[in-house]
Symmetry: C2
Subunit: 674 residues, 2 copies
Amino acid sequence: MNGVGEDQIVFEIAVVVPKRNLKEENEGYDCVEVLVNEFRNVGFVVERVIGLSDEFIKLAAPLETLGRAAAKLHMKKPTRIGIDLQFEWEEVEAFVRQPDGSLFSWCERFQCYHHLIYETVNKKNSCITLKFDGKEIQWEVGESLLRRLELEGIVRQVFPLHDETKRKKLLRNWALNCWDFTNQPIDDIYAYFGTKIAVYFAFLGMYTRWMIFPAAFGLILQLVDFGSLQLLVLPAFFISIVLWAVLFFQFWKRKNSALSARWHLNFSVSTSQGYKLLGREWGSLQSPMELTKNLGTDKTKEKEAFQKYEWFSYLKRFRNDAIIILSIICLQLPFELAYAHLYEVIKSDIVKFGLTAVYLLVIQYFTKIGGKISIRLIKYENNENTEYKADSLVYKVFGLYFMQSYIGVFYHALLHRNFMTLRQVLIQRLILSEVLENLLENSLPYLKYSYKKYRAVRNKKKREKGSTGKIQFTSRVEKEYLKPTYSASICEELEDGLFDDFLELALQFGMIMMFACAFPLAFAFSALNNIAEIRTDALKLLAMLKRPGPRAAATIGAWLNIFQFLILMSICTNSALLVWLYDQEGKWKIEPGLAAILVMEHVLLLIKFGFSRFVPEEPAWVRANRMKNATQAQDMCSKQLLRSISGGEKAFSGSIPRKTPDGLKKTVMQRATD
Amino acid sequence: MNGVGEDQIVFEIAVVVPKRNLKEENEGYDCVEVLVNEFRNVGFVVERVIGLSDEFIKLAAPLETLGRAAAKLHMKKPTRIGIDLQFEWEEVEAFVRQPDGSLFSWCERFQCYHHLIYETVNKKNSCITLKFDGKEIQWEVGESLLRRLELEGIVRQVFPLHDETKRKKLLRNWALNCWDFTNQPIDDIYAYFGTKIAVYFAFLGMYTRWMIFPAAFGLILQLVDFGSLQLLVLPAFFISIVLWAVLFFQFWKRKNSALSARWHLNFSVSTSQGYKLLGREWGSLQSPMELTKNLGTDKTKEKEAFQKYEWFSYLKRFRNDAIIILSIICLQLPFELAYAHLYEVIKSDIVKFGLTAVYLLVIQYFTKIGGKISIRLIKYENNENTEYKADSLVYKVFGLYFMQSYIGVFYHALLHRNFMTLRQVLIQRLILSEVLENLLENSLPYLKYSYKKYRAVRNKKKREKGSTGKIQFTSRVEKEYLKPTYSASICEELEDGLFDDFLELALQFGMIMMFACAFPLAFAFSALNNIAEIRTDALKLLAMLKRPGPRAAATIGAWLNIFQFLILMSICTNSALLVWLYDQEGKWKIEPGLAAILVMEHVLLLIKFGFSRFVPEEPAWVRANRMKNATQAQDMCSKQLLRSISGGEKAFSGSIPRKTPDGLKKTVMQRATD
């Protein structure tokens, strides 16, 4: 009854080393041989594949190897009673299985693999001399062999491998199953790609499904001529799409926490993230006695240190954000306006085309530089973990893209004050960006892969001049090695390809929401685009790219706030659009109609902010489950805990009531006054 | 080294029964004697005081009695390692002491007292016949004697007693210590009055301290003549007070969570509240095996039930809120407008005076009726506990008061469009309401008390016609009995006097914030008023009223949201005021100045909502403490828990991986496809 992943050996990690001319005599000291032996010692199942120009060491870990690694890592895993406890291989039955029946999720497996492959340290007393094609390598005592070889450039890459059975199944059920529209096998995606990617697809699916309502409304607005009612229909459309967006994001939060509960990621109870502060890690290292001692003696000092640290980090983040915002306003805004203005002024089509080409080139550089600056700034922030860092990056870089995408449209809207021109600009942008981006997104990886394959074959041919006939790739692992990785266009350190996918969604959302009143049909366009997007993204991940490493975050993170911000912006811009619409003579006088729009805007803003107070982000059943679990765990070990606390207490202090110095003083003072 | 409350016996609860003509022969069956005996059996120290017309049974509980009651109640208390565990009398040393050195807080003691005095059940097999002044009372099997006597009207009241030593100390250090301005001994207030009242005074103190900045700014604006810069100074004032308010409430949240941490109320970890849903209480009753069984078999059903319940309760609350809002708009708004209009139209001062008198009378009824309707509506809501119910009441009733207080001012502002008239109205309202309310608040209880005392003495005189000379109250407990309780003017079921105190603060805050640009001096007025308010409220609680029963809530609850709403409103109203100021010719044309105000409004709204995302509500040290505690507790009992979970699991199912029916099906399907 064990899951599929545990019955048969699945190779999940590959290590790439160059092909060597092996001489039999010193095989024992060849570094690759030693590495493979070390892998075997750790407990891996190893398979070696010789490719065209590289050798691939495929690694698979039996369940027990993974379990021992997890126990060593003090990994917290959800148990049957709901709370997260440290994993112990002996008590494996206490832990909840994944939806697909396996014990470890892909993210946990990846962590274990990572721990295991870098654990190959030199345990002897002296350093060992290894050889590689004649070169000598010193393997120091206590050093990780893999890291040494990476530094020497011998290990070219370590990358996760696709699991062929699961991949094919997903291809069949998900990527090529176009008639499901927005339905996706989310649990299987979670099992194969990890949390963050599964959350992205769940979001995309729900977003597309909800999009059907405004798409239909927009279509009706386009097709039916309301005659004199036209001026009433647009505000109605505006109100309904704002309500739609507010509702959607509240329900998305609920769905997200339901998903977390289904995948047993109890983030609110578990402390797997974010309890590392002030550079020290709370946890298993300190015994309760030490801890209470700490609390007793330097509690106020500790508190001060924390407060200093906290405010200092806010200050740094504030400074960085200020730098980014100022540079966007002072450098990017004039540039974008200049382009928009020139484009408007120039008559000749050829010059326009040239201008656009130059512009496109320049903004490529702009965003690259912006990304680099952002990453450098983020390094000076005290973000608690990588996901926070990634969020910080997203906020900063989104500012750039926001200006790039919308300033031009705003300029056109302000200059012409004409709905028809604005609509044309919007259509151009939407169709161009969506079609172009989808094309690029899917063709670029394939082109890259083809080019790499071609080069590899050419190299091979050069080396083996004598051989004739076609050279074929026989091993799947080599093909995968040549596929591009799922990486962000802006930077590869903190974000992966999800950055680009989310960015596309967010820019699209902003475009259709902020100018909803000018172009209601846009919703229908994007609904269609998103239905296609689900399948093309799936195809890209499954067929065109290397398998991405899993990320731990269980929410869409910074993007949620960005979407919320876009809703806010859209309330303001649509109100402005409606004012223009009603005030076509340009009198700019506050008449009842315009006052009504202002009132409507404020009511919508209020609803936007009030709504989240009325419907909580966590469904009641998730909350009840969590509460139940926490209570139950405490009840189960309540007595034993109590005994150990009061026992430890006695052993430590001897006297009964221990207080902070403050409390003590107060009691003494009280006694004096009584 | 034990706290004061544990060394000496302090009588904390009094039970009031009428004086009887005791005949010696049937003393054994006299219900009061039986009650007193029962109290002694439970473990109380009892003192009986004969007053003028009543008899008072004063109760004090030794620490052990309280401890046993707490253990019986399965009370959760914070332990030295930070998490809350069920109290056990044997492990008393594991639990954290209060800041004043006692083991139980006033709130916990009150709970224990309540449990103990109503625990006096008839444990015999047959019902017992008791006598009271000749009347016979049947004490049924298993019935609480006190409740029976309450129903019969023999026990007139059960009320908490003041602790004379602590009361005098607080009077000296707090109520009469006027030169401390906003400093208060919050920990002592917490120990004496419980969480909610201490939080109120902490809020009032911090609010008043922060008020100094806008008060000074307002004074400067009033005193210095800026000449032509006047039109720039007012917007600056507007921006700075909005920022001030936003900052203040964010920092208040931080202070509140720091206070909770200091008083060891870990609400985020503990599940003392809110885990009772669907009518069943999770916890010690179900063994882990039963629970996992439940989870296994009817998880989806349970989820559905929860979802149904959740949405049903939202629907009910939404309906109730809609009823309240509609009736306020349809009934109260026209009434208030009619009054404001009539007041404006009528020339004669006498008629005006009469009108105001009638108006004041009518709104008394209005609010009473509104309160009653609200309470009836709330009964149909599924609020999880009394504090939620109280919050729901606060929201509903505040709507009434909001209309009452501000509609008149809005009307004047809109009608006259003149800053001077508006300012006059504001001064009238502010000074009148503040002076009148403070006077009423403090004189009414005293008058009530005096009247009751007078009546009691007169009754006594009537009965003992022969006696001459002055009759004096000898017992303190009788005096306390005659003092009024700390109750809300609107209803006594859900709220206590804090409702009125918070309402006063909120209405004042709304008045000074919403019309800040019209009358900057208001801040100085209210700062002065609040400094006085701290001391008069303290005096009222300590000297004029019965000791209030403690409430568990550790935040200011619904009022926080109301204050936030008032900030929002004030952004809008002040923008409108500024527009009027700039547009004195009444052209209503959007010129650069007006556009700038609109932009400013939107930026402020953005800041209002964005700020809370940047500075979290919980200080880092509180969070780190909580995290540390949770982790540590889990680590301490991790292994033992694991063993019991997997042991129970084996005993229950025999096979190793148990799944929900869904998961099982999926695995089977997977195998079929592989």
